[in-house]
């Protein structure tokens, strides 16, 4: 059982981090930024992994390049822009908000809004058409009083 557990730990340890020890930057703050940037970039070989997770050789070289540029003083955004200028928006795992992606970002909101508006209208309509209850006539009042054994309420006539 312990062996199985250990195997699992080893498996996930490998999966969680493709960044090899010799790739890391000495400065922990810069290394943390490099990890952030790497996790936003798609491995263009495997296409559904970040370069931070990928074991592909090109992903490794991209990680190294990210670190070189960060060490050289680039901001995170500048590094991302550098990659986008070469690979296009595809290289970002989180799509940018622009003309091409506006449907992607706003579509769900619009659909939700349309649905909410439809429900609201239906609810309003239903309450408008609620049957109005006419007050009981004198005869009905008397009958009710006779049945329940109480005097009919006084009414101004």
């Amino acid at each position: 059982m312990n062996v199985v557990a250990l195997a699992f730990v080893a498996l996930f340890a490998v999966n969680a981090m493709a960044v090899e020890p010799n790739e890391r930057l000495a400065d922990p703050a810069l290394e943390a930024r490099a990890r952030d940037v790497s996790q936003a970039l798609r491995c263009v070989v495997c296409q559904n992994e970040t370069i931070d997770e990928s074991n592909a050789e090109l992903a490794k070289d991209m990680r190294m390049l990210v670190r070189e540029r960060i060490a050289a003083g680039d901001s995170n955004q500048e590094v991302l822009d550098y990659m986008v200028a070469r690979y296009g928006d595809f290289v970002l795992l989180k799509p940018r908000f622009n003309g091409e992606t506006i449907v992607l970002w706003l579509g769900p909101l619009l659909l939700f809004g349309a649905g909410a508006a439809a429900v609201l209208r239906r609810v309003r309509k239903a309450s408008d058409h609620a049957p109005t209850v006419a007050p009981l006539s004198d005869a009905e009042q008397k009958e009710l009083a006779a049945l329940s054994g109480t005097a009919p309420p006084e009414r101004p006539s």
């Binding site: 991209m62 190294m64 296009g88």
Partner: protein
């Protein structure tokens, strides 16, 4: 209003039909031979990135001055081919490159990507060396600057050093005669104009 609401129940059907049309088009494109892994290059019509790649030491075909720099690509239409001795698809493409070189249609420059000089030299000695210049890119700097996702990839560069076309995958005789050759002829005409 009453007429409208009578057909509201068709709305979900309309949405589904639109989705089927969108996804169906993509599927048909892929079935029609479009490779879903192909990424359009954002580098089209931009100048070749700055590079100054070292020559392949001990190259089988000796050149007066080798290596590949951005400046080497100016003044003539050229084909820049990203390859590596480790790359099987490059081997499949290689006879075509050798043939193109023999025809003298266009100078081919090689970017030897993630390779060792020993392996590259052995490979060129065995399969032929169609390249005018070869530059080494052992750590993918230039490959990334070119937005390369795999080898082989070929860039058609005009006489001003601007990337005019990118072909991903092995250049086949069909690709050469139907796409690259006419484009080269056109770019050469452009270059000949004052």
């Amino acid at each position: 209003m009453a007429v409208k609401s009578r057909f509201v129940f068709l709305l979900p059907l309309a949405v589904v039909l639109i989705l089927i049309a969108v996804f169906g088009k993509r599927l048909l494109d892929v079935a029609g031979g479009e490779d879903p892994r192909l990424l359009k290059s954002v580098l089209l019509d931009t100048p070749m990135p700055d590079m100054d790649l070292a020559a392949l030491p001990g190259r089988f075909k000796t050149m007066p001055d080798d290596g590949l720099a951005t400046a080497d690509l100016k003044g003539q239409v050229s084909l820049v081919n990203v390859w590596g001795s480790w790359c099987v698809a490059c081997l499949a493409e290689h006879p075509m490159l050798v043939e193109i070189e023999k025809s003298g249609a266009v100078p081919i420059h090689g970017i030897d990507w993630r390779d060792t000089p020993e392996a590259a030299n052995a490979w060129l000695a065995r399969h032929g060396d169609p390249y005018a210049r070869i530059g080494l890119d052992p750590r993918s700097h230039t490959a990334i600057a070119l937005g390369v996702t795999g080898a082989p990839e070929s860039f058609l560069v005009d006489a001003n050093g601007v990337i005019r076309y990118k072909y991903i995958g092995p250049i086949t005789p069909e690709v050469w005669s139907s796409t690259l050759q006419p484009m080269i002829a056109q770019l050469e005409q452009e270059a000949a104009k004052p």
